[in-house]
Subunit: 323 residues, 2 copies
């Protein structure tokens, strides 16, 4: 029996690199795409066990050629502009990469013969502004996105369902809430805090941490849980179904900062940076993982405490190795 083959777009990215770990451990033959000369640091440790292919997902014919050559059993489409903040600065690229890029891959995938599942990663940011601040969001919550990121992911989900309905493509959507962990870049809040603490501990920054709005509440998972959810959704999920992946709890950014600061012996002053202060239009995002638990057997294994500790350790080791 040959191993099932998986093709990951965005394999060099944060979640992509963890998904590659996850799929290798689960016995998949793992291939992935690399966009021109983007760095492959995130997958350095496993690179010899992967096969990598150049791909610009904005080019429909490249998508068709590569997929028909690889004939994967599973496609995990993770390549995207993944930061809400970056999407505000690059609206057009966000729409192009996250929406048009997805359509290109969906279209190319309709021609495949051995494909069992196409996993698309949706986002809780597509829910956007909703009534009931403390509402627990479920998969049937309507989209009301307010960021280019949330808009692009909402539109791409519509396209996913269309490619199932119209072309029979077995698309499954894993709708992920926020997630973090080692290797995530500092456009995201947890690594942004962790990096600053590590810099302070290394004497590279005065003992003052710069923060933006601390009042937003988010449902944050460990990336290692989330990518397990991606694998489960692809293997066990049903086409045209959406599965939320989340922790089920929401914490304030302030609580995250405090938990990180509690892990350093340094006395650090918190300073609000006016440039970062723009308050999120979405005060709370909290999801339910009930459907994923019941249908996929999804379980949350990592506590937020573990994620924060591991992320801080990652940044400490980076600054140690730089000395």
């Amino acid at each position: 029996m040959t191993r099932p083959s998986a093709f990951i777009t965005g394999i060099t990215g944060f979640a992509g690199s963890y998904l590659a770990d996850e799929l290798l451990a689960a016995g998949f033959d793992v291939r992935g795409s690399v966009y021109y000369d983007e760095p492959t640091d995130n997958i350095a440790a496993i690179k010899s066990r992967l096969r990598l292919y150049a791909l610009d997902i904005l080019d429909p014919s490249q998508c068709r050629r590569l997929l028909s050559r690889l004939q994967p059993n599973y496609i995990f489409h993770l390549a995207a502009i993944a930061s809400v903040g970056e999407s505000f600065r690059n609206e057009r690229s966000t729409f192009a990469i996250n929406f048009d890029g997805t359509v290109n891959l969906l279209e190319a995938a309709t021609r495949l013969k051995k494909l069992r599942k196409f996993l698309f990663v949706g986002s809780s940011d597509s829910y956007g502004v909703h009534r009931g601040r403390n509402k627990t969001l479920t998969e049937d919550q309507p989209f009301n996105p307010v960021s280019p990121y949330g808009i692009s992911k909402a539109a791409a989900e519509f396209a996913c369902r269309y490619y199932y309905r119209r072309h029979g493509l077995p698309v499954v959507v894993a709708r992920a809430f926020n997630h973090s962990g080692p290797r995530q870049n500092t456009q995201f809040v947890i690594p942004a805090f962790a990096e600053q603490i590590a810099r302070i501990e290394s004497g590279l920054q005065k003992p003052e941490i710069r923060v933006g709005d601390l009042t937003a509440r988010r449902d944050i998972s460990d990336v290692r849980d989330i990518v397990r959810g991606y694998r489960l959704a692809a293997v066990k999920g049903r086409p045209d179904e959406v599965y939320q992946l989340c922790s089920g709890r929401a914490v304030t950014i302030r609580a995250i900062l405090d938990a990180l600061l509690a892990q350093t012996p340094f006395k650090i002053k918190v300073r609000v940076d006016r440039n970062k202060l723009r308050r999120s239009e979405i005060p709370v995002l909290r999801g339910s993982h009930r459907k994923a638990a019941q249908r996929l057997g999804y379980r949350v294994r990592y506590r937020l405490k573990d994620t924060l500790r591991d992320t801080l350790e990652y940044w400490r080791s980076r600054y140690r190795s730089m000395k």
Copy 2:
């Protein structure tokens, strides 16, 4: 006092040509864009009173240059792939023209100094599949689109709201239900029936009309009501608001066919065309125009009977003039 200036994208199209009539009659200085060498038959009678400019809305810099040169007070963005059926055949162009094209115009419009309102035309097709077959849809109905057309219009509406929230662009959305009338092309059901009747009456087709699924129920307005709604929404509508334009009643395609057949003395056989039979995934679309009535003073002036009669007369005169 100078006349307010309006810029219409898609002015050569069906609704665009009626909107040009409407705005000229209301005292606007009317300009419009033409895509390369597309036909201008629809505006032949008023061409001397308009100023036309070449524009490919897929080119962001063309959009910026033309709009900053014209500095319109009102933009009416109607250019789109407007047929649900065509969108199934040209998925990618539909996404590009209806979504990317809209983003290009929104972005270009943020730079304007005299702009009072940007009117975007949304669609009831973005509601897609919804619970409660006979539900009267209101502006707060969530989107659940199942056609590339509905997806592209839903995504473009999200972008419209984003450009208001983020960039302060005064965007108003007129969410139109089905509309018809003379000059509409035969990709749409009423002109498709009317043309066949006119051909039969002219002896160009045997007395047999080919039809697809007749069971869908749609809320159909006269285009002349709808474009008045566009003008009212642009002039009186509030930024970031959506106004549904519709008749408030839904009729089956079968009833439309019967009403048209009642207007010809010819005995015509109805034959189901298997190629056209694909049943719509959306059995009923019926809207409420209450908000438009209350806030904009929108009134339905044309009865469906008038629309059908005028459309049939249009096709009769076209076939008469061809003889």
